[in-house]
């Protein structure tokens, strides 16, 4: 489309296969590869083949695998938060932001496992931090409290997302079968609690605990905010003084 012509600032020579490379195309192809074959399925050589280019051409766009993975991570953040506009309620806004990121990770579990622990330092992540801090400061947190709370919030979200994504990505392949296989068969003599919980354990482990954990977390923040308002006025706790 027209966007392609505008997006590609410099004119690229087409590859042998005729495709014109770009950061965006390489990232999109990488995501497709990971979705299809898992994170082990992403290699510079396969990526080259999928793009119809020599593998070494990728090093014109990214300094290496690490740089590429960070770009993938940032692209996924961008997709998850695309069109997100925080509403007036800070609690609802934070909840929506968390659920969008969580859902984005679970939608592409294999990519999430690869990227969820990375700090990208790129546009979409920066935008997310800006918006997240804005929500918290708007709620009444001072800069130190907002920074701390954002950190706790995003780690909570990415932590659950990564673990649940890992469980999903590996299901069938081995790991998660354990909950149905080894845990279901343990004798009540040696493992009374596991035996008692056998049925519900498997169910609990396959579901997600994020929603309830987020609820607890937001309750905690609300409480902190109320205490802060009593002590230090609308803009919060003592850290605001520093």
């Amino acid at each position: 489309m027209a966007a392609d012509r505008l997006g590609a600032q410099r004119r690229r020579r087409p590859t042998r296969a005729g495709t014109v490379l770009s950061h965006e195309l390489i990232v999109a192809t990488a995501i497709r590869l990971v979705d299809l074959h898992g994170s082990d399925g992403l290699s510079v050589r396969r990526l080259g083949a999928a793009l119809g280019a020599d593998p070494s051409a990728i090093y014109r766009y990214f300094t290496g695998t690490d740089d590429l993975v960070r770009a993938v991570a940032d692209s996924l953040i961008g997709r998850a938060l695309d069109g997100f506009v925080p509403g007036p309620s800070w609690r609802a806004a934070l909840a929506e932001m968390g659920e969008r990121i969580y859902a984005g990770c679970l939608a592409r579990p294999r990519a999430a496992v690869l990227t969820a622990a990375r700090v990208t330092g790129r546009v979409h992540e920066i935008q997310a931090v800006e918006v997240g801090l804005g929500i918290l400061r708007g709620a009444g947190f001072g800069v130190a409290a907002a920074s701390r709370s954002y950190h706790a919030f995003i780690d909570l979200t990415l932590g659950y997302a990564m673990l649940d994504a890992a469980a999903l990505a590996l299901s069938g392949a081995g790991d998660v079968a354990a909950w149905g296989d080894v845990y279901a068969g343990l004798p009540s003599g040696s493992h009374p609690n596991i035996a008692a919980c056998a049925g519900s354990l498997e169910q609990a482990m396959s579901g997600s605990a994020y929603a309830s954990a987020l609820g607890f977390f937001l309750d905690g923040l609300t409480l902190e905010l109320e205490r802060g308002e009593k002590v230090g006025g609308r803009f919060g706790g003592p850290e605001n003084r520093l």
Copy 2:
């Protein structure tokens, strides 16, 4: 020691270098490799070299890399909870269990990144689940609620552990420098919240949010328990009826 002779049931032929292989020795050597060279530094070939054995000898003990990594994960769980005996307070017991696992991961961040998302299905993990469920059931949760809560608890702990371990493992190498580099330099025109929080953001991101998140979580569980006691007597909520 004597334990070695007892532990090694079958007699092993020593390798060319004279070492006698065992599951334990291979796992311990793998952990040492990861500590030293990061998770990329763990390879069957390097492991063979470190053990003084042909790489292919490892396949006599583990079905493949995956199996080995799960064994490493389980060994780390065992070390983290070694000697752990839950006290009478379920809240304190759960808190100690979480902090031990979290601390264990942060003590070996490179290994934690490799293993924290894995379900091992092995002795030490099973023991941890048994103890964790015991704490929650002892607190008064029914089997379904205990299963759900254990899941939420362990994912909270491992999620924060993995993210903080990843930050630690990569610090200097790139990722985390971003908080000091790119985020500190953003103009207040385009990113007012980040600019306002610049100083405290870097500090917040390098610290851990686990302790406070765990506090929120335990508060939530306490509340749930109190509600359950009102509704369903000592052994908890409606799920107990099923």
